[in-house]
Symmetry: C2
Subunit: 197 residues, 2 copies
């Protein structure tokens, strides 16, 4: 309908590949970038820099500039590995300061419907890390979605026979919740997992 220039159309297409960015948001972002060419260039530059410098850690498969990453080389507890789906989940765990062991990023979750099988995740690499006998606990922190739960179950069945303790983050009532608004399934899990005061 309206004739955009080719380079503008290409930028719109690239922006729409970003998560949560549709046609309208892409237009808004593109016009914003056009208004400040210096920001536009800086963004282009930092994207190029990230592509060339940042990669995945060859041990835990989180993101890093130096391989292996700080989490794998730092002074941390070698006897526990926390398994997460994506590199960003590692940050969520780390913010709590409650876990001081190593990490392992699966880079996804099992999803037969989307064709994601165990071989497409970093599961073989995880099992290999358990070889030496140093690791005594694997904390499964995959998402609490259908895929994440299935992945946790799969990993538990795989790892337990190796004589390693397998744990899962607790289900329960989120802090600050009104009991009234918590779903029944969560309350049920909270009752099952109740603790002494």
């Amino acid at each position: 309908m309206i004739q955009f220039s080719n380079s503008f159309v290409r930028l719109l297409a690239e922006l729409q590949k970003l998560p949560g960015v549709g046609e309208k948001t892409a237009l808004r972002l593109a016009f914003h970038l056009l208004k400040s060419p210096e920001n536009c260039s800086a963004l282009a530059e930092s994207l190029r820099e990230v592509v060339s410098r940042v990669g995945f850690c060859s041990v835990c498969f989180g993101i890093t500039e130096d391989d292996p990453c700080l989490f794998c080389t730092g002074d941390r507890d070698d006897t526990a590995i926390c398994v997460v789906e994506e590199p960003q989940d590692l940050l969520t765990m780390e913010r709590t300061r409650a876990f001081r062991g190593r990490y392992h990023v699966l880079q996804g979750a099992l999803s037969p419907l989307s064709g994601i099988t165990p071989s497409q995740l970093r599961i073989a690499e995880l099992v290999k890390r358990l070889d030496g006998g140093t690791v005594r606990e694997v904390v499964l922190a995959t998402n609490f979605s259908v895929e994440g739960e299935a992945t946790a179950l799969y990993l538990a069945r795989l790892i337990k026979p190796l004589g390693v303790r397998v744990t899962r983050l607790a289900h329960g009532i989120p802090l600050g919740s009104d009991l009234e608004y918590v779903d029944a399934a969560t309350v049920q899990r909270a009752i099952e997992g109740r603790s002494e005061l």
Copy 2:
């Protein structure tokens, strides 16, 4: 707290300059881009291309690759100019196919509180376009915000003495509205502007 690599931190900072992108969204976008280096490179490339190729039209100050732009050179009505705040507003007008004249982009709206005075907008350039006597109507399509209304009022006072007809987009009930949910001020304007059936 968590040590990100420098290039990743720079990317986060650049992404947060985009409208509607805060810390969380920037992280989400950055991780998404990291997972697909080819998309990341393509976005960087198209940003560079846009910066180098796309600029503002020297006549209407909309965005364009060729100067003057298609709206200024195309076969359109020379007797009317529609004045909008931003280049994207031009698209909104154009989608209606109801206006076939030329355009003029102010690149902003008057806002004394933010220090935006008439000299910072493309107002002098607009007045100059009215010089020849060809233009007989200026349609003010600035936003219906405080700034947009003030800008429209300012332009009307400036242009009317030049003997050019100045019009403003109609206020009224949006199509498909439930009258019950339309604010009183809008209904008032709709009553004042009522038309014969």
